[in-house]
């Protein structure tokens, strides 16, 4: 399991990385996105990263920064880009914190030759397979199939829309900007469990309620 975090402010993103590092030093992954959805910056690397040493255009040309820190909780112990977050498909880029209990059955029932050993890799595949005109329906159908723990960001490359999903895994968000984190910080509130939120210009807003597919009963 891992940490996910993000912000529209690069300095804040760097601070969030420092905090979320404690959830996984194994590898780092990020996506930088522009408001006009014209170009994306994806970075993956093993171990830690010094974000101050990224090319300056990353900070200046992008308006949304989404990150992931990975702990080696899957069977995969050797770093490769294909087994590291974020995972990408034709239309989606995603990063996930949690564990997918029904990964094997999802692979067998919904894909023909998915061989990636990391459970999170199935999410963009399912999003493609469940593509619907209504993007919220695509997300709802996909995450309703998943049993286990999910904290995830899902960026749609076609529309530039970005969503947060929480099923079990902790995820904290702000009301008034685009900051979120797996780790609780001052000014962040817990995102309601079993829900999908969208990161918009004016904040992070609720979009879909999901059924409880986790192994835990929680009372807030």
């Amino acid at each position: 399991m891992c940490g996910i975090f993000g912000s529209n402010n690069f300095s804040k993103f760097v601070s969030l990385y420092d905090i979320n590092k404690q959830r996984g030093y194994f590898s780092f992954g990020m996506l930088g996105a522009r408001k006009d959805n014209n170009s994306l910056y994806i970075k993956k690397q093993p171990g830690e990263i010094n974000l101050d040493q990224l090319p300056s255009h990353v900070e200046h040309e992008h308006q949304l920064f989404l990150g992931h820190t990975q702990a080696p909780t899957s069977q995969e112990r050797n770093y490769t880009t294909t087994t590291s977050h974020p995972f990408e498909s034709q239309s989606w880029i995603i990063a996930h914190n949690g564990i997918i209990n029904n990964y094997d059955s999802l692979k067998n029932e919904h894909t023909s030759n998915h061989t990636n050993p990391v459970d999170s890799s199935i999410i963009p595949v399912l999003l493609e397979k469940n593509t619907h005109d209504d993007i919220l329906e695509t997300l709802e159908k996909t995450f309703s199939l998943i049993k286990g723990l999910v904290g995830a960001w899902c960026y749609n490359k076609r529309t530039g829309r970005c969503f947060l999903v929480r099923m079990g895994s902790t995820l904290y968000i702000t009301n008034n900007d685009q900051t979120f984190s797996s780790i609780k910080l001052e000014g962040l509130k817990i995102m309601p469990d079993n829900s999908i939120y969208e990161i918009c210009d004016h904040g992070i807003i609720p979009q879909v309620n999901l059924q409880n597919n986790t192994s835990f009963f929680t009372i807030d």
Binding site: T170, T214, T218, I219
Partner: protein, 236 residues
């Protein structure tokens, strides 16, 4: 004569394994159980382990391993100065403060040694699917495979660790417990060492969910209201 060793904590998983082996494993003739007092704050579970073992096993021993509590001060379960982490605060965390360092490897190593000495070839390990979700690497399939690889180096008295619940969710485990006659009143799961279960720690949360998914009311008492009726749960 086939013998086995079961480390029984007094929680649901090991109690279900004990009853499952006793009633459904015709290949096992004698059961030996061990319970570990490792300084856990929820030592109430030890009395439950004694109750569960009574009349069901050839031998039950409570092992004084309280020295572990003095050594493993990083865990909320063995250090009263650290609060038990609640489910809503830690789910998805790769290793929570509730994790007891290397506990399962230590317990299973002792059980494997005990198994050798009493002529048992199997140790039953209570790992369940939810353990991996709750952040315990020593409850995972990979851990099971690895510890069996280690034990397979034994040149004469080979002991195998079996974890029959490792791919089962709490709903399935509780259903198996009902089928095999587990008295759930005599099981204890909560990490807190209070008279009533807290209902908020990961252990309570998965237990409650398992009962709800079976449409059953958990017979133990919780310190918070659990809305059993909202889920149409009935008494066992």
């Amino acid at each position: 004569m086939n013998k086995c060793v079961i480390p029984i904590s007094g929680g649901i998983d090991s109690s279900v394994i004990l009853h499952h082996v006793k009633k459904q494993r015709d290949d096992i003739d004698e059961i030996y159980t061990l319970t570990f007092n490792y300084g856990q704050r929820h030592d109430k579970e030890i009395n439950c382990a004694i109750d569960q073992s009574f009349g069901n096993v050839k031998s039950h021993k409570v092992i004084d391993a309280t020295f572990l509590g003095n050594l493993f001060t990083s865990s909320s379960l063995t250090n009263d100065e650290i609060d038990v982490a609640k489910t809503k605060d830690v789910l998805g965390d790769p290793q929570t403060v509730n994790y007891v360092p290397n506990r399962n490897a230590i317990i299973l190593s002792i059980c494997a040694g005990y198994a050798e000495s009493v002529g048992a070839s199997t140790v039953f390990h209570g790992a369940a699917l939810v353990d991996s979700e709750a952040g315990y690497w020593d409850g995972s399939n990979e851990f099971l495979q690895s510890i069996n690889n280690l034990l397979s180096l034994n040149r004469r008295d080979r002991v195998q660790i079996e974890a029959p619940l490792i791919n089962m969710n709490k709903q399935e485990i509780i259903a198996l417990g009902v089928e095999t006659g587990v008295n759930f009143s005599d099981t204890w799961t909560c990490y807190e060492g209070e008279d009533m279960a807290c209902g908020k720690c990961p252990a309570c949360s998965s237990r409650i969910k398992g009962f709800i998914d079976n449409k059953l009311i958990d017979p133990i008492v919780y310190s918070i209201d659990i809305p059993w009726e909202d889920f149409n749960c009935v008494t066992i």
